[in-house]
């Protein structure tokens, strides 16, 4: 009776779902089954092949015997697709720079005003001198062209702040912390959210599903900074388990290499927990619904009919297909992660990109703000492209150069 709960869900939705899928997926995703079964022998689909090829009949891709040449063709199609995406994303990238440059420079309150308005001794000439120094005396479009032409050569200009250091250098020393923290928490999130979503989907309506649903709703509604405050209140102030803020302890320099790693990890534990909790809700919920969809497909019915165990069905057959939408979601959630770093870094006093951006905004440091926006946009787009690549690798339909999937909301 191990298959009972899954079987129940299937019985409830089973018949109409199958009928739907035959018509819907017949049109939209013509090559589903033969493709995934053809190349995923380790996943156990191979045995389904004859059954499915027969069942989906006209939908099967002809010429399965010539696997080799098809494979090459597929990767070529993937390359083409990626190249197209790359061009599009480059255009998007320059769109982003144009919008942010215009918005930032048109907004009232120039850095010159900030430095001079409080000083009664400053005369108009000095102001003009400042404007010339910062290059603010030229018209907007000229400034943009100048800025872009420098950007292409990876020259982000120098910061307006008193240290006058190159923007790239300033960002470069902050970037590893922010990206590293986001990467670690992303991995953690995936490690927790994927099994969580799978199990919740398998026993839909069971106690696990219900308790994770509750957790998800709380996770959605919980402001990350409040969670951080509560954790600080409880774990740092009351229990004194974790430090209040900062990246390293005072005696950091005197520690050996292992001690340094431990010290940083000790300081980063809470921030990473906050990041992870914030991302967990969305991804596990999405994983759940995507897994529920996957479990309605025909090949799951077959696998079940074949007598496979529930675990094998969920984690081997359905997981691969259920993961596809999650990959897209990951790409889309990157801007949020980067934006969230401003808040989390400011609470925990971490010297990351978000904090740098905050300071830049407060001092109206145009080159630094633009540099941050560019880096943020670049990371986001790179993430999107990477998600696209993973999608292509995981889904043979994309590789075979089918029509672009409509990425609706």
């Amino acid at each position: 009776m191990s298959g009972a709960p899954g079987g129940k869900a299937c019985r409830r939705t089973g018949k109409p779902a199958i009928a739907d899928n035959l018509t819907a997926s017949g049109n939209r995703e013509p090559a589903v089954v033969p493709d995934s079964s053809g190349r995923s022998a380790p996943c156990g689909h191979a045995t389904d092949k004859p059954l499915y090829a027969a069942r989906s009949g006209g939908n099967a891709v002809p010429g399965q015997g010539r696997q080799g040449s098809r494979q090459r063709g597929r990767f070529k199609a993937l390359g083409l697709r990626l190249a197209r995406r790359f061009c599009l994303l480059t255009a998007v990238f320059f769109g982003i720079t144009l919008v942010s440059f215009t918005v930032i420079h048109l907004a009232p309150g120039s850095p010159v005003d900030l430095e001079t308005s409080l000083n009664p001794l400053v005369d108009p000439e000095a102001k003009e001198h400042f404007e010339k120094l910062y290059g603010l005396d030229k018209p907007l479009y000229e400034r943009y062209i100048l800025w872009v032409s420098k950007l292409v050569r990876l020259d982000f200009g120098t910061s307006f702040s008193s240290d006058r250091r190159p923007v790239l250098e300033k960002i470069g020393e902050r970037l590893p912390l922010t990206v590293g923290m986001n990467a670690i928490s992303l991995v953690l999130t995936l490690l927790i959210a994927i099994p969580m979503g799978c199990i919740a989907a398998r026993r839909r309506g069971g106690w696990f599903d219900r308790s994770t649903t509750l957790l998800v709703y709380i996770g959605f509604a919980m402001p990350s900074f409040w969670l951080a405050l509560l954790l600080l209140l409880h774990c740092s102030i009351e229990l004194r388990w974790f430090p209040l803020s900062g990246l390293t302890s005072l005696h950091f320099e005197s520690l050996d290499a292992w001690g340094k790693i431990k010290d940083v990890a000790w300081h980063l534990a809470l921030p990473i927990f906050v990041y992870t909790f914030g991302a967990l809700a969305g991804i596990s919920r999405f994983m759940r619904s995507s897994m529920i969809d996957a479990l309605r497909q025909d090949y799951i019915v077959t696998a079940r009919a074949k007598g496979l165990s529930d675990t094998a069905i969920v984690f081997k057959h359905a997981l691969r297909n259920a993961l596809l939408p999650v990959i897209t979601l990951l790409g889309l959630s990157l801007p949020g992660l980067i934006g969230g770093s401003v808040i989390i870094e400011s609470i925990f006093g971490l010297p990351g990109l978000g904090q740098l951006f905050y300071t830049a905004v407060m001092t109206r440091d145009y080159p630094l703000i633009m540099g941050n926006l560019v880096i943020g946009a670049f990371l986001t787009l790179a993430g999107t492209l990477l998600a696209d690549l993973c999608y292509g690798l995981a889904d043979p339909r994309i590789r075979s150069g089918g029509p672009d999937k409509e990425d609706g909301a």
Partner: protein, 329 residues
Amino acid sequence: MNPVATRQTHDAPRNAGEGEAPLPSQPNDGKACRPRRRGNPAVRKNVSPAVRASARLLRKYWMLWLGLSLVGLAFLAALLAPVIAPFDPNQQKLATDLSTIFQPPSLLHPMGTDSLGRDVFSRLLYGARVSLWVGLVSVGIATLIGVTLGLVAGYFGGLVDEAIMRAVDVMLCFPAFFLILAVIAFLEPNLFNIMIIIGLTSWMRVTRLVRAETLSVRRREYVAAARLAGAGTGRILIRHILPNVIAPVLVSATLGIAGAILTESSLSFLGLGIQPPLSSWGNMLLEGKQSLEIAWWLSVFPGMAILLTVLGYNLLGESLRDLLDPRSR
């Protein structure tokens, strides 16, 4: 099962009025009581069905009810703030009486007082106004832009569609929070600017949604019929297409309010949102952070208010989705 016990449980609702609805599983528990229940239809027909039906409705739509009541609570707090609030939210007693600052929760101050001796509960009630204003107005702006662009893109297609959707792509790839921060810091951070800017940076999803719906609706026969009847483009868009695409928009708007409230409180928490002395839940948390080690109540209650309100909107949105879109059930 003990017949006496079952009789008692079935008699209980009659005695207690509408106290508890008998669970549907109860009649099957003991066969002994079944004839008795059939013999007394008054119990079942007059009291139980209504109670049972409402209990079933309550159970079936618990998400909707919970969401509605949480949102309703927030609205009540906002509307009745001057009536309920025990103190003036900006009344400071620091100058006259030092002992009034940082008081822990008590009967007089249910949520304590802050660093200036202001009553946290009163400030919380007034803070609800900010949150709801920001949520409603910014989502209103976003929905207006999103619906217009989505309708235009979906109905006209071609180059217009391409241009609008590429703009959506650009905006979606934006690290939006960065941009909001920068713009808010440059403009003056106040309620008006925050509402506008959150609205201007969150219309993309609505656009996609409306465009996708419009694409399918515009091929329907009634649209063709309207055109044959001589309706102009504007009329077709507004009278025939808009009403048929509005359901998912409603859902996304409800969820959008939750997002906008979170964004506003994040901004205020960074000191770039609502400026004191005007209270918002975000800037109350900022004050809480500054005195985290001495006054826990300053950080706990405003956050709870945000959590419950956002939770309310999320639940409302999700249950609206379930009600309006049978496919997702």
